[in-house]
């Protein structure tokens, strides 16, 4: 249950960035370190105003590398911690995202995607960082990434991101886009007692017997925090269950990296969320996420009005990829259309899951997301 005084229960008209900030505070986030960047600045701005009122800490750091480093430190000191950025800052954070993965530091990173590469289009939307979300840091790992399509989801999925981060001890990414972040819409914030809150598992063992990276059956180790009486070592080097570097030991490397992947892969069914609309009899299925999914929904409804059996699979979870849902939709349909604000990223995952059903990419770059008409035309072409 969420802490009452921190939750602005009621009906609000908010921007996506503000809703994200409120979601974080409702989820129990009490530490934010960041560096301002369009279109994510309003998250930091709002949190800077709110944190002192709930006893939390806001720090503007010198850059994004320091921001994510501070977030990992805060997480290890026992706080729920977040940072928010956009593409250029997300690139700077990649190395330390790997550190958070390796040290299993629960934290939330928001990337409000704008047009790239490089500084690209600061004020315009993109979906060009979704593969970077999966593969951005070096080494092998699995991560969780969520994709909001509305201002309400900027609130709800930020809460969810914290819960997943805490449950699996993994950095969890909220991959928003400029439209969702800057859009103003109605948000209903439920009473605190209706907001589900997950906190990291604590060790039962006394300090002397605590092995900080010894997993339970769910492959997630209980987490003692610094200052709680447990002395332990956390490192980015390959380490054994006691936290000590074992960089020459292939068994330890195999065991550790496999577990870091498996704790997400084997729990994927519990993590993955999609929204399926009219897919049971669909001859053409659109797979979309973020703001583009709203255009896709409009297109699917228009197609149905014209007698075309169209459906939508909206990816709420991007990573782990909702493979089973896409595979199931693909079995029954003739064609899949994947509109994205990039030159073809998630479409590769869709193709992989869809097997023999063809997946057609519909790219959009520049100022605006796809219009419903553009997606409708693609549905018509392939129906």
């Amino acid at each position: 249950m969420a802490e009452k005084k921190a939750v602005l229960t009621g009906v609000h008209f908010m921007s996506g960035d503000i809703a994200c900030a409120e979601g974080a505070i409702a989820a129990g986030c009490r530490f934010f370190a960041g560096y301002p960047i369009t279109p994510a600045t309003e998250i930091a701005e709002h949190i800077a105003a709110r944190m002192p009122k709930v006893g939390g800490i806001y720090i503007q750091m010198e850059d994004e590398i320091a921001s994510i480093a501070a977030v990992i430190g805060a997480s290890y000191a026992g706080l729920k911690a977040m940072t928010a950025t956009s593409g250029p800052g997300f690139s700077l954070m990649q190395e330390n995202i790997g550190l958070a993965v390796m040290t299993e530091a629960p934290c939330v990173i928001v990337d409000v995607m704008r047009g790239g590469p490089s500084t690209g289009q600061p004020t315009l939307p993109g979906q060009q960082d979704v593969m970077q979300a999966k593969w951005g840091s070096h080494g092998d790992y699995e991560i969780i990434a969520l994709s909001p399509s509305s201002v309400q989801e900027m609130f709800d999925l930020t809460v969810e991101a914290f819960n997943l981060a805490e449950m699996y001890r993994v950095p969890t990414l909220l991959m928003a886009d400029e439209v969702v972040a800057h859009m103003w819409e109605k948000v209903v914030i439920p009473p605190a007692e209706e907001i589900k809150i997950v906190n990291r598992k604590k060790p039962n063992a006394p300090p002397g017997n605590y092995a900080p990276f010894m997993p339970d059956d769910d492959l997630v180790p209980p987490m003692a925090c610094f200052g709680e009486g447990y002395r332990f070592h956390a490192t980015g080097l390959t380490h054994d269950e006691h936290g000590y570097p074992r960089t020459q030991d292939s068994d330890v490397q195999m065991r550790l990296v496999k577990r870091l992947c498996d704790k997400i892969r084997k729990n994927a069914d519990k993590i993955v969320r999609v929204e399926e609309v009219m897919i049971d009899d669909a001859e053409v299925v659109v797979v979309a996420y973020g703001i583009v999914a709203r255009a896709a929904l409009s297109a699917v409804k228009k197609a149905r009005e014209q007698g075309i059996k169209a459906g939508l699979v909206r990816l709420i979870t991007l990573w782990p990829f909702p493979e089973k849902h896409v595979a199931r939709a693909a079995e029954k349909t003739k064609a899949i259309i994947v509109p994205e604000m990039n030159c073809g990223q998630m479409v590769r995952e869709v193709e992989r899951a869809a097997k023999t059903t063809p997946a057609y990419h519909l790219p959009k770059l520049g100022e605006e997301p796809h219009t419903p008409l553009e997606i409708l035309e693609a549905i018509r072409r392939h129906s």
Binding site: F13, T123, M183, E185, R294, E367
Partner: protein, 181 residues
């Protein structure tokens, strides 16, 4: 029914705020579905700026304007860029002092509200957008007048409510006279 409104001008005119006030009035104080989106350049002032509002009786899927029913234009650049995008049978509300060059646009009703000048007469050029909102309320009747006033109070800096409500009323009167002829 889905109504699409586009406010456009340059950064610093309160264009984005106008959209937020309108959408919030329709949604929170008017009980309808509404969404506001925006588009602006990297400059905070002086760059081209637009704010879009959708108002609907049913849930809104696509939140962007594709064919506006109503344009509210406050700069020549905005006029040149968007005047032709308005739906046939739609309307344009514009500030004629900011838009000296107009063309003939067929099948569109034009309402001219010198909002910037009226705001200057009130002593604060900055409330021109709120004068425009008053006129918008009277001319279109899409959003309830009282709902808009509530929304203005919720969205303007503390201590400026009175000035803004006065600006709104002046605009509303001007708009009412335009409609009633």
């Amino acid at each position: 029914m889905r109504i699409e409104i586009r406010f456009a001008g340059f950064g610093g005119q309160g264009i984005i705020k106008s959209g937020i006030i309108t959408a919030m009035a329709a949604c929170i104080y008017g009980g309808k579905h509404a969404v506001q989106t925006q588009s602006y350049g990297p400059e905070s002032r002086g760059g081209a700026c637009r704010s879009e509002v959708i108002i609907s009786e049913v849930e809104i899927d696509f939140p962007k304007v594709t064919e506006p029913d109503i344009l509210v234009l406050m700069s020549q650049h905005a006029y040149n860029e968007y005047a032709e995008t308005v739906k046939k049978g739609g309307m344009i509300i514009l500030d004629p002092d900011m838009i000296p060059n107009e063309r003939e646009i067929e099948g569109v009703r034009i309402f001219r509200v010198p909002a910037t000048r009226m705001a200057e007469e009130l002593g604060r050029r900055i409330v021109a957008n709120v004068v425009m909102l008053g006129a918008f309320a009277a001319i279109t009747g899409i959003v309830d007048k009282e709902a808009l006033k509530e929304s203005i109070k919720a969205n303007v800096p503390k201590g400026t409510e009175e000035l803004n409500l006065k600006a709104f009323e002046i605009g509303y009167e001007y708009g009412r006279k335009l409609v009633e002829g």
